[in-house]
Amino acid sequence: MTLRNDDQLLNDYGKRGDAAAFDILYQRFRQPLFGFIRQQLPEAVANEVFQDCWMVVIEQASDYMPCGSFRGYLFTIARRKIADYWRGQQRQPSQTSDDGNVVEQFSDDVDPQKIQLQQATNAVILMCVGRLSKVQRDAFMLKQTGLAVEEISLILGATFETVKSRIRASYSQLRRCWERHHE
């Protein structure tokens, strides 16, 4: 039996009423999507936004027409929902500069002191990602969800080369941050 791709699964769910197809699709994207959202929003809101994203997928499944990959579609919805949240809060989580300077943390409940005390590798890397500039962070996080650079450039509305250089810069920043916290 061949593995169904994401579009096939959504199609089977939306047009053929195959509930199991949705379950597979959900399992495939559950963790990456939540991780993506959770890094940008407090936990309670992250759960809400995560649910909202899937509601959109469910509602639109019967009329879904692929325009790019399902992965790109899903993470575009998530980005919009996150942007809507911050717009509603009348504040931005961080600067949008591309200069790579340290910017404000975007996850409220990550405490650097606590991180140092615990020496928790997980928390350090998340904090380092949180300290990337917004554009670098977007590019890095989307890359980690499995999207190709070309698709990231479509989602972000930036050129292929720009996205590539942002990803490269994000690795350098992360490396520096990582070393600083492991000295």
Binding site: Y13, A19, M65, R168
Partner: protein, 255 residues
Amino acid sequence: MSNESKPNSPSDGDLEKAYYQAVTELQPKAEVDEAIRLQAHSQLRKGRDWASVPMWARAASVIGVAVVGWWLWQPDLIEWRPQTDNTIVENQVPMEVATEDAMAAAPTSVEPKSPPPSSADALESQFAAAEVAKEQQAAEQVQQQAREAEQALVARHKLEQAQRQAERQHSEQLLKFSFCLQYKLARRDDLVISNDLPDGTDSGSVLSGPSIEWQEQPWQLVEIAQTAYLVRAEGDNWQVAKVPAEDFTVCNLHR
């Protein structure tokens, strides 16, 4: 992605691995999982009923419900219906009383033409029977009115449901349309930007169109005479870019 030359510095792979492990720890709540799964499965049942039927059938259904709703809400028609029913019953009565057997079979449905003169009890029971018949008729009338009111309520509820469904569908289509357009425009970095709003633009409502992200800026989509433009306010000036017709046409299929 190349690694830095500094010794002991983590490689890209190390960073990715650490990041992956950290993110894996972030899990949605179990109840959220369950709510999504339930919604997905229940939507499937609903989808079979409504979303999967063709557009023309949905439109016909909405119109049908609207007509029934309108008909049930006409006060004249509501009054007219029980009268018609009574007429039919009355027309049937002479047939029922045509024989003695029929009278025996339905003693309360008709009053005898002349009561037996010698029996006061019989007279009393006839009055009582007439009273009961009247009460029954009144009760039936009340029930009939309640049924009609209920039907009207159901029809109105269905009409509202259909309207809500249509609105939701519209907003979903709009989302798909703007998603498509954003995808198409992301491939274009050569759109000519001017500072003049196109002729026929209402500058008061220009920023109320759907929002599209292009070149990492939020733009509003404005449609004038079957041509689409991206518009945004930049200080005191407008920035306007014409959307290529081919992109607009393709994405319009989603609407």
